[in-house]
C-alpha cells in the first residue's frame, strides 16, 4: 500500500518543555486539500494518544483513516474548502520521533533516555510542521481527547498562529480519576516482566501488559449504558479462549479480548508510557498560576467545545469548565453537550451526533 505520510526533519536542537532537547527530530504528517493563496484556510488536527497522522484516506493512501467520515470532499471538515493537516504527535511511533526512534547521537533507540515529554512539546513540534508548510496562522486547531489538550497548549503558547479552536472530549487539565486510570495502565505495562525497564526487543514487547492496559482503556472509553444495551448478560460464542477455569464467558469479555488483540502489537509500549504520562502532566493553570490566567493567554476569535454526557474520562463538568474559561476571553464560544451513549469514544463512532455540530461550526465561520 502506498503512503500519504510525509516527513519533516527539523534541522537543529528541539528544546523540550520540561528539560533536555532532541537533536533534529522528525515529524510525520499528512495533508488533504490545498492551501489557498491567502494561506488562511489551514486546519490542524491533533489526535488522541494512539492514532497516527492518517486521519483520512486520499489518492496516495486509500486505506480508511481514523476520522474517515469527518475529513474529505463535502464532509464536515471539507477538503474542498480547507487545507487539512494532521500531525503524528511527537513521542508517538508512527513516523514522528519518539522513545522507539534511534537517537542520532548514539545510534541506539532512545527508550527511557527520551526526555520527559509534555503536550507542550507535541504542540511546539506541530508548529514546526505548519511553518514548514508555509502556514503562518491556522484557521482552526482541532483536538480530540489528548489532542484537545495538545491543541489548547498550541493556542496558549502560539496565540499568533491560530484563529479558532475546537476541543472535542478533552479538558483544561487532567483530574485524578483519569490520572489514576492512566497511571494504572502504565503500571500494567511496566509490571510485565517483558518490559525489562524499557529495554524489550522490538519483536518481543510486553504484550500482556499492553493487552491489560488496552482493556482498561476500552472500559473507560465507552460507557456502562452502551454496554448494558449492547451486551447485557449475553454469553460469548467462543468462551474457551483464556486458559484455566476462568474463561471469557460473557460477550463483553470477548469484545475486550478482540480489541486488545488488535491494538497490542500496533503501538510501541515506551511511546505509550510517554504520551500517557504527558496527558497527566498537562495543566493550563501552569500558565500564570491559575486556569483563569491560562485562559487569558488565548487570542482566539471563535471556539467550540464538544463533550459527551456518558464520557467518564473527560466528563461534562470538565467540558463546562473549559467552555466557560474560553468564553471569558472569547465571546464567540459555543459548548455542545451531546447525548451520545458511547462515552469518550463517541467522536470516533457516533458520527450522526458529531457531524452536524462540526458542520455548523465551519458554516458559522463563513459569516
Amino acid at each position: 500500500m502506498s503512503s500519504a505520510r510525509k516527513l519533516f526533519t527539523f534541522d537543529g536542537k528541539f528544546r523540550m518543555h520540561r528539560a533536555g532537547y532532541l537533536d533534529s527530530p522528525t515529524m510525520a504528517y499528512e495533508t488533504w486539500g490545498t492551501l489557498n493563496s491567502n494561506r488562511d484556510n489551514a486546519v490542524l488536527i491533533f489526535s488522541g494518544l494512539s492514532p497516527s497522522a492518517h486521519a483520512a484516506s486520499s489518492d496516495e493512501d486509500m486505506s480508511p483513516g481514523w476520522w474517515e467520515e469527518m475529513i474529505g470532499s463535502g464532509l464536515p471538515i471539507d477538503t474542498d474548502r480547507f487545507f487539512v493537516i494532521c500531525v503524528n504527535s511527537l513521542g508517538s511511533c508512527f513516523g514522528s520521533t519518539g522513545p522507539a526512534s534511534v537517537n542520532p547521537k548514539t545510534g541506539e533507540r532512545y527508550r527511557l533516555t527520551f526526555p520527559v515529554l509534555t503536550l507542550e512539546d507535541v504542540a511546539d513540534a506541530a508548529l514546526l510542521v505548519t511553518k514548514h508548510l508555509g502556514v503562518e496562522c491556522l484557521h482552526t486547531v482541532i483536538g480530540c481527547s489528548m489532542g484537545g489538550m495538545s491543541g489548547l497548549a498550541f493556542c496558549v503558547r502560539h496565540p499568533e498562529a491560530v484563529e479558532r479552536f475546537v476541543s472535542i472530549s478533552s479538558a483544561a487539565r487532567s483530574l485524578p480519576f483519569s490520572i489514576a486510570v492512566r497511571s494504572l495502565q502504565r503500571e500494567m505495562i511496566r509490571s510485565d516482566p517483558k518490559w525489562q525497564k524499557g529495554n524489550y526487543e522490538p519483536g518481543d514487547p510486553p504484550i500482556t501488559g499492553q493487552r491489560l492496559a488496552r482493556k482498561l482503556g476500552m472500559i473507560t472509553y465507552r460507557s456502562a449504558e452502551e454496554w448494558a444495551g449492547r451486551f447485557g448478560r449475553e454469553r460469548s460464542t467462543d468462551p474457551s479462549r483464556i486458559d484455566g477455569q476462568f474463561v471469557a464467558e460473557f460477550s463483553v469479555e470477548a469484545y475486550l479480548e478482540n480489541h486488545a488483540n488488535k491494538f497490542s502489537g500496533a503501538f510501541d509500549p515506551n511511546c505509550y508510557l510517554y504520551l500517557s504520562h504527558a496527558s497527566d502532566l498537562f495543566d493550563l493553570a501552569e500558565y500564570g498560576g491559575s486556569l483563569k490566567s491560562g485562559f487569558k493567554r488565548l487570542k482566539i476569535e471563535q471556539a467550540l467545545v464538544i463533550g459527551v454526557r456518558t464520557d467518564i474520562l473527560f466528563p461534562l463538568d470538565q467540558q463546562r469548565e473549559l467552555a466557560q474559561g474560553i468564553a471569558s476571553v472569547c465571546s464567540n464560544t459555543r459548548l455542545a453537550e451531546l447525548d451520545c451513549i458511547r462515552g469518550h469514544d463517541s467522536f470516533l463512532v457516533d458520527m450522526d451526533a458529531f457531524r452536524p455540530v462540526i458542520c455548523e461550526y465551519f458554516e458559522s465561520c463563513c459569516n
Copy 2:
C-alpha cells in the same frame, strides 16, 4: 489478639449450585447480641467480596470491624435489640472453606479444583449457619455490594427463612461494565507469572497482579468527584517510590499505592478469582427466566434498597430496577438514593449518610 470468630463444620456433602460438591465445608462467622426467646430478632449480614466475618468489635475481639460504626449497642444495627450474625462467604479465605483450604479428601489445597462458586452457594452456606444457631426465620437479611446479591439469592431460595431484606449498593444481576472491570481484575492476577495457574506457594503469591487488581478496584469503588475535590492535581510528597522514569508523582497515585499495599498480602488470590467470578454469574432472572419471575419468588414483608448517586459499579439505575422489582411483590419497599460523593464505597466510609437510613428502617420495623 483474641478472636470472636466461631466455626461451624457441616457434616456431609454440600451440593454446589452449578455442579460438584464440598465435603463437610466449614463456615466462619461472628455474632453480636443475643437471640431472644421467640428467636425472631436475628439479623444476617452478607459482606462484600473482601471482608471477613469481623464486621464489628466485641469483648472477644476488640479490633474494629469493617462496619464498626454500624453494629453495636445503640448503633443503627442495635445489638441491644438484635442478634446479629455475619458469615464469612463460602469461597473466601477468613475461616470459611474456599480454594485456599485443604480438601479433606486429598490433603491438598483445593486451588482450581474448587468447584465453580456462585452467590447461591454463599447464600446456602449461610443458611446452614443460621440453622445451626437455632434461627428458623431471620428478622432481616442485609447485604452490601456483592453481599446484596448473596442476600437476594438467600431471599429467593429460602423465602421461608427471611422476613425483610436490605440491599446496599448492589443489584439484581451484574451488568457488562462491572463484569468487564472484574474480568480485567482477574486477568491481571492470572497474568502475573507468579500465579502459576493457581499453584503459587502461599508465601509467594502473585502480588503484582493483586496490586494492579486492587488499584482498579479502588478506581471503581470511589468517584471522580470525590478525588477531584480531595486530590485535585496535588503532587505526592514521596514521588520516587516506583522505579524508572515514570514515578508516582500525583497524590492520587500515592493513595492507590498505599491501598494496594495494604490489601494485597491479606487476601488469597484464588479465593479472589472465585468470588469475583461468582459476582459476574449472579442473575436473578435465572429464577424462572426473567427478573419479574425472579422477584415473584420473594416472600418478604419489607425491603429497603439503598444506592449512591456516584456509584459507577452498581449505578442508581440498577438500584431503581431492584427497588421496583421488589416493590412489585412487596409494597413496603423503600428506595433511598443517597447523594454521597464517595461512590460505591460510601456504605463503608460515609456513615453520616447511611446511619439515618438504616436507623429509620429498623425503627419502622417496630410499628
